[in-house]
Each structure stands twice: as C-alpha cells, then as structure tokens.
Symmetry: none
Subunit: 198 residues, 4 copies
C-alpha cells in the first residue's frame, strides 16, 4: 500500500542517516547499503531518489552547510554593531553543534570528497566565500577594505585550524578559551590597524 508524498520524508531520512553514518564510521566505510538500512529503506530506494552515492553525499553536505548557515543567522539576529556581528559569526563557528564528532567527521569527508568532485568543491567554496563576505562586509565598517580582507582571511583560517585540530584530539580543547583567543586576535588586529593605518 504505497503512500503518496513520501519523497521528502524519505529524502530527509536518508540525508540524516548519511550524516549519522559518516560520523559513526569516522567517515570511511560509508555504504549506500548502511545508509539505507539506517534510514529504514532499501538501498534501491536511495538510488531511486538520489541517483547515485555521490549525490547522496552531496545532499548530506548541503544539509550540514545549511545548518551551519542557520546557526550563523541565529547568532547574527541579536547583533547590532559591526563588531558584534563579527563576533557573532565567530560564536556561531564555534557553536557546540559543530563539534559533535559526527559533524567533524562529515566535514573531513567533504574536504576529501571535494578533491574529486567538482560539485563538492563548488559547495565548499560557496560556503567559504559566504563566510568571507559576511566577515569582510562588517569589517569594512571598522577598517579599510584591504585590512578587512586580510583580517577575514586570518579569522577564517584560525577557525578552520582549530576545527581540524579538533578532529584529532579526543580531549576537547577548551572551546571557550579558543573563542577568547580568536576574539583577542580580532581585537589586536583592529587595534594595530588603528595605530598604523595602511
């Protein structure tokens, strides 16, 4: 007794299963079969809806990026000044959600995937550029455009760096301390800028 309107439900279930499965397996050993089983459907159905394994992975990637974007927007909602907005982005980047092992593993997998899949690469670049634009947009109000770009670059790097280092150490390096380091970096850069305008 097939029901109608199942497509979005199945898609969501499969995407969620993919994320869990990637996180669970430490990003390797991800199998369409396992994903489908976790979603409670046959692997044939997974192919029916997504066409190929790559498309499933891509969809999961989009989902994770979207969630990250939502976190950023949520934090930005309460920010009024440019500085607050930049710090809100930093806070969102270090949101505890992002550091769940499954999410970290997924990111790593996507980085690897991006090396072979043009689609995956594009997705990742879109994410990176949006983060960059957001930062630069607000930083421009605090300094000149060149410095803004440079600072944004540095901030994004520190964030990514802390992030990937997280993937290795079981002992979660203190998230709060990390945030303070990043914000301190930001403050110093802006101070320096104030004293020695480019």
């Amino acid at each position: 007794m097939p029901k109608i309107g199942m497509e979005p439900i199945r898609r969501k279930a499969l995407i969620e299963a993919t994320i869990l499965e990637i996180g669970n397996a430490g990003s390797l050993n991800v199998t369409v079969g396992k994903i489908a089983k976790r979603a409670g459907v046959s692997s044939a159905l997974a192919h029916h809806y997504f066409g190929s394994k790559d498309q499933i992975l891509l969809a999961a990637m989009r989902e994770i990026l979207a969630r990250f974007g939502q976190n950023v927007n949520r934090e930005l909602a309460g920010a009024n000044t440019p500085l607050q907005r930049v710090e809100a982005i930093i806070d969102a980047s270090f949101h505890v959600d992002n550091f769940q092992p499954q999410v970290v593993a997924s990111w790593l997998t996507f980085y690897v995937l991006a090396q072979n899949s043009a689609d995956a690469q594009r997705l990742l670049q879109v994410y990176a550029q949006r983060l960059q634009s957001n930062l630069v947009y607000d930083l421009c109000k605090l300094t000149d455009r060149d410095k803004a770009k440079r600072i944004a670059n540095g901030l994004a790097s520190i964030i990514d760096g802390f992030y990937i280092r997280q993937a290795l150490q079981k002992s979660t390096a203190d998230r709060v301390e990390t945030i303070s380091i990043v914000k301190q970096y930001l403050a110093l850069q802006l101070q320096a800028d104030a004293r020695t305008p480019s």
Copy 2:
C-alpha cells in the same frame, strides 16, 4: 633479474609511489595495485614488504612527517634569537614543498585515516605535539608560560587552517602574504603581552 639488497630501494619506491598516487587521485581510489604499478613492482611485493595497505599508508605518512621535520630543522639552523626561531618554524610550515598538491592531498587523507587508525592518530599527534613544544620552548623566552602556550596554540591553528583551506582553492592563496599575516599575528600577541602582562 633479481638482485640483492633491494628491500630499501623497493620500500622507498613504494612510499614515494604512495605519496604520488594519493596526491594524484585526491586521496580516494588509492589502490595497492596502483601504488605497486607506479613503483614498478607487483602488488604482492608491496604486501611482502609492508604487510598490509594500512602499513603502506602509515609509512608514507611517516615519510611526509619526516620531510616536514627536516624542513623545520633546516630553517632553524640559521636562526639565533628566540623570535627568529619561532619565525623559522613559521617559514618551514609554509615551505613551498608542503603545498604541492600531492602533499596536501596526503595530509587530508591522513587526517581521515587518523579517525579510524590508532597508529595514524598517534603519528599525527606526535607531529602536533612536537610542533607545539618547539613553539612553546622559544616563546617562553619571550613571555610567560601561559601566554606562550596560548600563542603557540593560535599559531598552530592558523597554520593548519591556511593549510586546509589550500586543499580547496586551486589558485594558491598568496603564500608570502599568508606568512606575513601569521608573523603579524605573532608580533601583535607579543606586543599585547608586553603591555598587559598576565
């Protein structure tokens, strides 16, 4: 035409082939067969010398880590003051060798590998700790221990962050500019320290 004393030669060739193959394939599709073929031997021989695919990957990882260590030492040789030494480590981290696509791809693979292989994880941690100790050792001469640790942490994160971002953009982000950003970060941190001792 078998000769004697081939083992070290084969091992080297296989390790080199592994690095190239990983870099070439973007870390997926790495096959013992392909590695062996690239090294000009049978896959059976690869197993004969290394025992398993994991051991081959691990050996390649060790090699890359060792090369990185050599670069660091080379740079340190010409450094006299603590500040120069820290900057030497930064320079080594951004050595052009490290940014060859193959090397970057290998690193990514190893990060992924580390999520499932205890051995790989240990190797990566050893590398991270050695970098950390080196930085802290010299920074301690420029500031107190707590600040030194914090700065070292930040430096290492920026380095790793730039590194991983590299894996995505084909257009090599300006290495020289990056180095200057990192050094500026260092300088600012030390200045801040000078003005507001903890």
Copy 3:
C-alpha cells in the same frame, strides 16, 4: 529476470552445489566461485545469502546431517522391538546414500573443518551425541546402562571406521557384509552380557 521468493530456492541450490562441489573436488579446491557457478548464480549472491564461505560450508554440513537424520527416522518407522530399533539405526548408517563419493568426501571435509571451526565442531558433536543417545536408549532395554554405553560406543566406532575406510577404496567394500559384521558384533555383545552380567 528477477522474481520474488527466490531466497529458499537459491539457498537450496547453493547448498546442493556445495555438496556436489566438495564431493567432486575431493574436498580441496572448493571455491565460493565454483559453488556459485554450479548453482548458476554469481559468487556475490552466495555471499549475499550466506554471509561467508564458512557459513556456506556449515549450511551444507547441516543439510547432510539432516538427510542422515531422515534416513534414520525412516528406518526407525518400521522397527518395533528395541533390537529392531538398534538394527534400524545400523541399517540407516549404512544406507547407500551415505556412501556416495560426494557425501563421503563432504564428511571428511567437515571433520577437517571441525578442527578449526567451533561451529562445525559443535554440529558434528551434536550429531554424534544424538546417534549415541538413540543407541543407548534402546540398548538400555536389552542390558544395563553401563554395558549399553559401552556397546553403543563400539557400534558407533565401527560405523565411523567402516565409513572412513570407504573414503580410500574405490572398490566399495561389500556393504551388505559390513552390515552383517556390525550386527554380529551387536549380537555377540548382547550374548556376552547375558552370560556375564556386569
């Protein structure tokens, strides 16, 4: 042209093919690939249904044991007195089915398998114990328990002994004569018991 409900059909075909293949090859050279080909399916399907080569072999073993059990039951159906029942078990043990080369070869293989596989060993022990219990149960009505056990042990040994000797001689040692030897052994033991009660 995939149809539904194929699983039991394939399982049977694969088990049958396994028995034939083992018998045909003399127990060595048994390959999942060959078994599958003989069953008319791909080796992947064999794994799909059984999980591993060991499970396939085990399933074949169970089948042979089950067939043997059926032969025993068939013979027992027409037996009324305890003595007739014991002789029925003997008859079943020497049923012509059991002496088909394939079956003999399978048994040998299973004995070997049992030395390394706990599952196989258990299966074989279950079979041995069931035979033993059956014999003892009826012999107890003809003599005391200790003698019954001893006689049952002797009978089982003779049966197995004739059986394994069969594996060597192409010229089938006269089955009928063998049966008479075994029954004579039984008769003598019971007579001796009658004369010298333990």
Copy 4:
C-alpha cells in the same frame, strides 16, 4: 660458507616441521612458508629439496606411517602366541603417541589429501593392507581364513573409528577402556567362531 651433507638434515627438519605445522594449524593453513620458517630455512630451499608442496606433505605422511610401523614392531617383539601378536597390534594402534593432536590432525589431512593425490592414496592403502595382512596372518592360526578376514576387517574398522572420533572430542575418551572394548570384541569373535564354525 655452505656445508656439505646438509641434505638429510634439512629434509628431516622440514618433515618434522611439516608434521608439527599440520598439527598446530589443525591441518588447514599449512603453508610452505610456515613449514620452512619452522624448520629454520627459506621456502625456496624446501622446494629445492622436495620439488613441490605435495611432495613435502607426502614425505611427512611417510614419516608418520613409518613411525606407526615402528610402534607395531616394538610391540610385536614381545609377543609370542598368535593371540598375543594380534593384541600387540591393537596395543600399538592405540599407542599414546598416535593420539597426540598433531598426529591426529595429520592423519585427517592425509585422508583428505588421499582423495586427490594418487600417491597419497597409495601410501594409505599400503598402510591399511599391511595392517590387514598382519592381522589376518595371525588370526588364521586361530580360525579359518574367511573368519580371519572378517575379524581383521572389523578390528581395523573399530580402530579407525575410535581414532577419528578422537579428532572431535577434546575429552580424550578413555584409551584404556577403548582397548578393552576392542579386545573384548576380538575375544567374542573368536569364541563365536569356536562355537559356530563357518
């Protein structure tokens, strides 16, 4: 510094290693490489001396059969009457040496081997026939030739049967009791013969 006269030493070492290895591995997983390693030589040398793996196995088989023959002869040395001689053969068959796990495993392997190797089959038949002749020779002095053959057949079967059953049960069925069963079988057969000459 190659020495001369090593051949017999190496052969012996390899044969001994083969027996141990078969017993150790439970008859499967026997590898020329493992055998050679246990013998302290290269696998190439094993091939040099024996030509092929089959030949190595065959040589080990011959050795075990020879040892068994020696045990028989040793027991026969102290036997004077025909009945004593028959019982001596029984004793030798149940010699504790024959029940070492390695030896049992080897026998099983040889039975399997015999199904595919004409040489192995011949060896095993030679052994069986020699045992048979020995038994018949002495039994003829106690009864007529037909009965002698039948009794010999029964004895050999019981012996083989107990033997193979041994391969399955870890709890060594009481060797002494077994011997008594077999001898009792012999006694009963001869008594029966005395009363009802064929």
